[in-house]
Structures are given as structure tokens and as C-alpha cells.
Amino acid sequence: MTAYRLTAGGLVDRSRALSFSFDGRPLRGFAGDTLASALIANDQLLAGRSFKYHRPRGIVSVGSSEPNALVTIGSGARSDPNTKATVAELYAGLTARSQNRWPSLGFDIGAVSDLLSPFIGAGFYYKTFMWPAQLWEKLYEPLIRRAGGLGRVVLERDPESYEKSWAHCDLLVVGGGPTGLTAALTAARAGLRVILADEDFRLGGSLLSETQAIDGAPAHVFADRVVAELQALPNVTLLPRTTVFGWYDDNVFGAVERVQKHVAEPLAKLPTERVWRVVARRALLATGAEERPLVFGGNDRPGVMMAGALRTYANRYGVAAGRSVAIFTNGSAGYQAARDLHAKGITIAAIVDGRVAAEDAAPEGTRVIRSASLIDTRGRRRVSGIVVERSGFEELVACDAVGMSGGWSPVIHLACQRGAKPVWSDTLSAFVAPDVGGGLRVAGSANGVYTLSGCLGDGAAKASAIASELGFKPTQDVMPETGEEADPSFTALWYAPGAKSKAFVDFQNDVHTKDLGLALREGFGHVEHAKRYTTSGMATDQGKLSNINAVGILAGMRGVSPADVGTTTFRPFYTPVSFGALAGTARDKHAAPTRKSPLHEWARKNGAAFVEAGPWYRSAWFPRAGEKTWRESVDREVLNVRANVGICDVSTLGKIELFGPDAAEFLNRIYCNALLKLPVGKARYGLMLREDGFVYDDGTVSRLAEEHFLVTTTTAMAGGVMSHMEYCSQVLWPELKVRFCSVSDQWAQIAIAGPKARSVLQQLIENDISDAGFPFLAAGTVTLKGGLKARLFRISFSGELAFELAVPAGFGIAVADQLMDVGRAVDICAYGVEALNVLRLEKGLPTHAEFDGRVTPDDAGLGRMVSPHKTDFVGKHLSSRYGLTAADRMQLVGLKPVDREKDIRAGAHLLREGMKPSTLNDQGWVSSACFSPVLGHHIAFAFLKSGRERYGERIVVWDKLRDQEAVAEVCDPVFVDPENARMKA
């Protein structure tokens, strides 16, 4: 047993033991532990297997930069694969499993790939697996795929919920360490609206593992005091467990709060995670600095950890990763760790210092080996010793853990997400944040200020400056006293010379120094190429530990400064964010808003089958007892409309009212047909083009008064047409005096169609609706018996005598009910959009299935509608282009199967009889098709090359996709009542 819980100390609550399990083994930790600290307490340092070589790997770090200790937490649909044990807050009942190993973490067959490593170095797969060709797809790739990936996802419905929220503030402080806390406090006291976010579950950052006293008290006490004051202020929002993952334009930040990731039984009223979109006038990055690993032979052996992590585990969590720890360092931080560990009773086996001269104080009695390199480690699944080389002599030093400290890299990720590149600082031997303007500033260690007093001061100063800038008056506070501090300097060491075994740069992706060398040799020396070729920095930690060393090593090999190598691009997300959190509440039936017609309940009551139509649910058909298929219901509805009468909910059509002296002129410009002289009290079909001359939408235009119009749009295009009209009115012709307003939601609209429509409707309406009193295409206000005002339009989409009655939406159901009651005597039926579709096809009326955005009015047989007399309308000029008027364009025709038993379905293509299928021979396609109960066979609309000249021709309807073929006769698309006698009855 080498890793263990210290007998005392740390900020864990030793009175609250929590049981959890790892790979099925029951273990115990304390409240305040992370999974990683609890694993260490149970001597479970081995936590995972690497991606490529399946090497055993242990916990390396203490935070979100962890490359190795990735586990799956939870089970079934609640599994969270690839969770970093170092950030997972321990809770009672947590179950964790290791990943990417078989059969077990201790013994993993996949590890044989390690033996093959000379053959499978960087980019090997680009050079092989090509022979024989079919084996790539059948053998090699499936093998590679199976080897790929880390955790296993359970693609089941997630039982938990998520949400999003906006937040607005004067100052967002990212990071709740010494810098962030003092900054937040300074700003909050000055009166700013402050949000402080930190990824940890406890605010305080490095103060929680600091041994330095502040104002004579332990640092964590100082942190608690500041947090308490912030908590009490109404202008402060504290967001622990919240990672600010992205910085977007206009100083908008994305952050994810893990609201209930740390509880076994989440509350239903709270989300598991919540994404915050923070709109911040100013933001301060107080994200600290990341300690660098050192690249030396055998540096991936479990037990080799960041020195600072060892220190935090000991100080904050009260756990030790080993009893005898060797330190490999190139700066003072390694000594600091050694001192703290020593103070906890942990033996320091040796301090190996790469530097020639160093003044740092080692704990008493500790052996310091200067000017030395660590060239290898010993041990199998756990480090048992290190090989130190100094002046050509090698020495084995026994130890059971190694702390490495390669200096500091400011965490500047967010500041570089919007295009600005990090700037190399020779002084700090690190990349620092670029100047990105006043919106986002960097303070404390993230700004290269590594001392505690420096951080406290920098946080306060930057917050003060921001407060003044925003017009607040900062209070003058006395800085807390910190006492004497060690010099935080280090000398960059990218690669410890003399490695005797693989020296890893990127632990998770198994990229070692030789891979980088190979990349350089093969011409992939550019930092982006090196990354892409070796996959360095592409693992789930995004190279938080590794990238800087990769840059340093490339710089060394190329003989240039790291400044010349530069970094790869920093991009969101800082740490991975779940789909669920980013999707929020929009999921399943709530994935998009639903619109319901005012007649929805009426349709439901009448047994409607509903169909999704954009945001709407529309009634598709109304099955009756005994009807076994939808076709039976639809056929009955169609025949009944043609023989008697039916009513249909058409409320979903877009309805726009226009007012003003120029309303007529405006409409005349946006429709291609003439509307200027439309009489009051009349409706007219209207066809709208895009400026490129293709059909955009169709509908009706009714003139309710001289300067008052009502237009309808198709359901699908209602929003688009409204925007189009707004564009025309505001941008193209602002001089036209016209105002309009959507009234789509104001009216419930019912189509009443069939030879008995009038007799039914007349019973509800006071006005005379005889053909004389209300002729075809009449439009106007009527009064229902009882006094309700309504609008009536004599328009037909079925070819029958038909009306559309619009009543205020809330009355829709009552009026529809009444129509059904009154119509019962003449066998009225409700019909849905399927019957509507059959009726319009029989009558030869095109709709959006035909108007697919590539069709001209002439293609659709509506060429005569395009007014030749108007000087201008949208789409006029470009309509005359050659390609839009060519004789061989596809034109709308009707199709009837020659063998009347055969069916035709939409989507089939057309071929001349005897011609082979080919793109060149393709004659057209079927846009709509249905069974016509009136005619007793299938009918279809199709677009056929020069179609209108080809009535009577036989054509092959070719539906290879469904292996069907039929011969059809090309005909006029009006199948029923071409004389319009029924409609005008």
C-alpha cells in the first residue's frame, strides 16, 4: 500500500464518509473529495489505459487538464463516459468504471500494441492498409475502429433534464482563486453586478491548497471569508461548479453549471446541468496557471504526477500518492511541493533539478541532485524508482511516486478563442494572452503573476480599474497581508535529455518525442501539421498539459524560438460540454414550438388523425368506424365533398391585412398578376415570384375596402411571405404608404365545399349567399345568425361550390360544431388535408409540391397570370432570361396510368418508352400523385420536358427506388370539371 489517506489535515469532512465503487470494488472517501482524491486514498492510482498503446496510466493532475484518469460514472442511461476523475465530485453511491481495457484494467490485451509501437508510430495508417484494397473496408478499418475511442456511450434516452439561462452583468470573473475572489469582492463592493464562476465545487482555487497564511489565518479561511461576504451581497451571483467554456463576440460567454452532477438522486425540479449565456460588459480571466509536465523517459508510469497535484492532494484532500516521493523540477514549485509533502510526513526520496544553479530551499535532510536529468522510471503498473543521470553517471533512486514540475503556463484559453493568437513571453518562458481589448482582461497567474500577494493585488487592481471605467467608485481596501514568499521562477525544459524509454508528450493519445521527430522529418513541422499528423493535443484534454511541451520540442528540433512555432488554435470548448446542456429544454416533443389551430380540438373530437406540417399539427383525415386504411377514409371524404358537402380546417393559412392608400400598388408590385383594379368585395388568386423569376408562393388577395386588403399565403410560406412583404415595404419601396399586420391567429377559417355547401352555410348566415348575392370570388364581412361577425370568401380549392368562412378564433369550434349539426341532414363530413390534396389534384391545382423553388409560372401552366402590362413587379426582369423561357423546360402535365390498375407515386421519374435510364434521358418527374376516387384510378402531376406539347403521348413512369414501372398517358392536369361549372354553381 503506497497511496493513502493522511491521518489528519485537508478540507475534506472526515465525519462524512461516502461509499462508492470503482470497477465494482466498494471503496470509501469523504465529503469534499474528488473521485481522484478518494481513489488515491484507496491506493488506486492506476485509473485508465491510454488510447493507442493501452499503457497503464495513473492520475496525473488535480483538475480539468487530466489526460489519464478518465472513467465512466454511472450506469445504463445515466452513464457519463470519459469523466475526469480529478473533477468528479465524490458522492455516496457513485459508481465508476475504468475504460479502454479488456478484460480488466490491470490486465489489458490491447497492451500488445505497445510492443508494435515502432511500426505504428505517427501517421502509420496513411502509409499502409492499402493492399489488397477490399481488406481496408472489411478488415483493417473495422479493427482500427474497434481499437478507437475511450469510453462507451449508452445511446438511450437520458432520464435527466437540462436548461439554459441568460445572465447579464457588469463584470464576469472567471476563476475563484485568490485573484478572482479579490477581483469579485473589489467590484462587488463598488456596486457592480458581478458574476463569479469557477469550475470547482468549492470556491477558493489555489487558496484551498495553500500553506501560506493570509492576514495570519490559513488561506482557505480567507477564501471562506471572502465567499461569505460575496454571498451576502445582492449584486453578486456566485456560480461554483461552473465552467466558462467559451468567449463569443460581444463579450458573451458560455458557461455550464453542473447543478446536480454530484448527487445520486437528482431532484426533478432542477436540471442536471444548466448552460449560462452571460452577457458581460467586462470580464476578468482569473483562471490561474497550469503546471507543466516534464518530458522524460518513462514519464507515463502510474505514480508520476504533477508536483503541484501531489501538493494539492496532500494539503486540500489529505491524501498522499506515495510514501517516498521523488521530485523532478526545473523551478521553485518542485521545492514548494517537496516542503509541503515533507511537512505532512512524506519522505522526499530526492529532488532532481535540471538547472545548474538553484537557490530554492529543499526540506531539511532532502537530497538535491542538480544539473541532472531523469532518464527513465522503473516499475510495472506503479513507479518503483527513477533513473537519474548526472554528468554521464546513472543512478537508480527508489521511490513510489514522482512529482514533476516543468514551470507554469498561464491559462489563457478563453482570451484566444476569438482569433487573437497567444504571445510568447521570453521573460515568462510561456505564451501569454494577447491584448484583446477592454472587454476581457487577464489577471493573476493567468497574467503571469505567480505569487500569492501578486495575485491578490492584481485581481483587486484590475477590478478597480474596470469599476472606474464603468463609472463606479471603487472603495480603497487594505490589501491582505501574506508575508514572505518564494520566488516562483523556473527555467524552461522542454525535454529531459537522455531518455532511455518513451518520453511522452501527450499522454492520452500516446504521442512521444519520437513521433514529433518523425513528423518533422516527414515535413510536418508546422505546429498545425504536427498536431494533425501525430494527434498531439487532440485528446479529450485538448493538450492542456501537452501542447506547450510539443511546441517547445518542435522549436528545439527546428532550432527556433517557441514564438516562431506558435500554438495551435484555441477553440471552444475549454472543457467538453454535454449535448444535453447545450440543447437545454428543447428536446423530444418540445424540440421545436408547436402551433395549434383554433379548430384543433374540434378536429380531435371528430376523430382526426393529425400530421405534422411545419410547426403545425393539421388534421390529415377523419377515420370512421369500419375504415381500415387511411385511403378508405380519404376516398369517402373526397366522394362526399363531390356529392354532398364537407368542411375542412384551413386556419393554418397565413393571413395578412394591409391598409393604406398605396396598398393596391404595393400588392400589384409583389404579385406577378394584376391586382390594381381588383374591385372591393372581390377575391383573386395571386401568384408571387422571387426576384429571380421563380414562383415563391401563391394565395388569394381580397379587397375588403378601397384601402384595405386581406391576403392569404400557404401554410408553409406564411412566415416567409410576411418577411418578404416587410422587406419590400421597408427596403424596396419605403415611399409607399402601406401598413400591414398578420391576422393569422385572429381567425379560425373553415372551408365548406361541395354542391350542398351553400344550403348548409346559408342556415348559419344572415346575409344572402346565393350565387347572385355572393357570386364566385366574392369576399366580405357577413353576420352569423346571433350576431357574430365573420368573413366569407367564395373561393374553391376543390373545384366544387365552396366557401371559406373566417370567424374570430375563439368561436371557431362552436361554429364548426354548428356547421356539422346543420349539415348532418345532408351528410356533411369533416375532411382533412389528404382529401384536400386529392380534390386539388383532380381539379388540376398546383401547390407547394409543384412550386419547389425551381418552377416558373409558365412551367406550372400559369403563364397567362403573369401580367404583360405591368411595368414592374418582383421577378419581372429576370423572368425573361433564356433559361427560364426555353422551350424544353419541364412543364406541368397530368398523368393517367395506361393500365388503370397501376399506381403512380410521387418522386418517380419519366422516360420515353424504350429509352434506357440515364441522366441525359431523364424526361421529368412526378410531383404529386394520388388515387382519384372519382375517376377510379391513379392520377398524377408531373413536370415533363416540353410537356404541354405532349398530351396523348405514352411515357414510362420509372420508380427504380421502389422497383416499379408503369406506362402513363400524358394529359391535361385538370381531371375534373374543366369547364368550372361546379365551382361557379
Partner: protein, 92 residues
């Protein structure tokens, strides 16, 4: 800008309240203008890297077409004006 637009009528609003229509510097030619003028109006775009004028409709708000003067590289917004006012000023 990619995140927020200050609507002159409604104040600061998130991007998702807007629908982007395209280049606002184009002027619709007279009906009698040449084929080339019409072709350029409908199909050709200056597509600058830098400042550009673009129509954003505030569909989730006042439904006005706004002219957003914006940098296509830095995403900085320089001004937002009402589309009708802009059109009038520019010769309508």
C-alpha cells in the same frame, strides 16, 4: 455581433432574434435597367473582408429590417440603422 445586435427600436438583443437577408448596399434597379444591372443586383456580391452593410430583420422583435454595418473579419458592429430610413437616405 455574432452574439448581440443593438436594435435601434428594441435595444440589445441576441442574434437568434434576427434573420439575415444579405447585402444591404444593393439598390434595386429600375424596371428598364439592363440585364447586366439586374444580374448584378440579384446575383453578384461584393462580399468584402472588412466593413459591410447587411440586412438583418428583427423577426423576434419589431420585425424591422435593419442595416447592420459590420466587419466581416472582426465581427465588430459599427452601426445599426433602420432599413427604411437607410433606404430613404440612399435615394429612395
Amino acid at each position: 455581433m455574432a452574439s448581440l445586435i443593438t436594435c435601434p427600436h428594441c435595444g440589445v438583443r441576441p442574434k437568434e432574434e434576427f434573420a439575415i437577408r444579405g447585402d444591404a448596399s444593393l439598390v434595386r434597379p429600375a424596371p428598364t435597367a439592363s440585364d447586366e444591372a439586374w444580374h448584378d443586383y440579384v446575383y453578384v456580391r461584393a462580399n468584402p473582408r472588412g466593413r459591410t452593410l447587411e440586412h438583418w430583420q428583427h423577426v423576434g422583435g419589431c420585425r424591422r429590417f435593419l442595416v447592420v454595418e459590420r466587419d466581416t473579419f472582426t465581427h465588430e458592429v459599427h452601426s445599426v440603422t433602420d432599413g427604411a430610413a437607410f433606404a430613404r437616405e440612399n435615394g429612395k
